[in-house]
């Protein structure tokens, strides 16, 4: 029974991983690609590791899987945020059909104040 639940979690993780990497190919812009591909960190690999923990149980591998889940969930948003901010700072343009750019407006207001 608990093996079946673990396999269901692994299947969900595979679904998110595959479609996240498909978004990494097909989206037109760096920011869109980042938005699609960071979904396959927390949901994809996180649920694969949780399914591994459910199948293996409280052994050495299960405890390592739990620690890896905690580490990944803490560090992946930090790296994604640093990447998007450095992309905006180094002047990579948005897609031409993008609607709004709040960080650019904020920088322009600060420049006008000075």
């Amino acid at each position: 029974m608990i093996d079946t639940i673990g396999i269901i979690f692994i299947g969900l993780g595979i679904f998110f991983d595959l479609f996240g990497c498909l978004g990494l190919i097909r989206f037109p812009d760096l920011y869109n690609r980042l938005q699609a591909s960071t979904k396959c960190v927390t949901f994809g690999t996180g649920s694969i590791l949780f399914g591994t923990f459910l199948i293996v149980g409280f052994t050495a591998a299960g405890i390592k899987a739990l620690f890896t889940i905690i580490f990944i969930v803490l560090t992946a948003p930090v790296s994604a945020h640093a990447l998007s901010k450095s992309a905006h700072m180094s002047g990579i343009p948005l897609w031409q059909e993008s609607v709004c750019d709040k960080l650019e407006d904020e920088n322009r207001y600060k420049k006008n104040d000075q």
Binding site: D3, I7, I10, G11, G13, I14, D17, L18, G20, C21, L22, L24, I25, L30, R33, L34, S37, C40, V41, G44, T45, I48, L49, T52, I55, V56, T59, A60, A61, K64, A65, F67, T68, F71, I72, T75, A76, V78, S79, A82, L83, K85, S86, A87, M89, S90, G91, I92
Partner: protein
């Protein structure tokens, strides 16, 4: 003409990978008797397909930051692959590789993004 050739090449590669997913002609290390071994074999091939997508983005990406994003996601996929190999082989040291890979990937991504950001602060 060139675009049609690229479509044909890509569809041939996708058909080969789907054949590998459905029929798995290779042997994979398996030591434990588990109920879901055929499902887990296909899971390994689907993870390798996603890694091939990431490699395509690394090869093609127009800027350097695209390649950094793809390398980050490739590291995360390899952590998942180590986790699946832990189930099928029953050895717990595959997850040690996964933990080390996640740590190195995080440090490398932070360092590269700070480097790319700091180069334009001087201008």
């Amino acid at each position: 003409m060139k675009k049609r050739l690229r479509w044909i090449l890509g569809s041939v590669v996708l058909i080969i990978i789907l054949y590998l997913i459905l029929f798995y002609p290779f042997q994979i290390l398996i030591y434990e008797k588990l109920l879901f071994i055929p499902v887990l074999k296909r899971v390994i091939f689907i993870l390798l397909l996603s890694a091939a997508f990431c490699l395509f983005r690394i090869m093609k990406g127009p800027t350097a930051l695209d390649r950094i994003v793809a390398i980050d996601i490739l590291g995360i996929l390899i952590v998942g692959l180590c986790s699946v190999l832990t189930i099928t082989t029953g050895r717990s040291w595959y997850l040690d590789i996964g933990i080390a890979w996640a740590l190195q990937s995080f440090i490398g991504t932070i360092a590269l993004s700070k480097y790319m950001e700091g180069r334009d602060f001087d201008d």
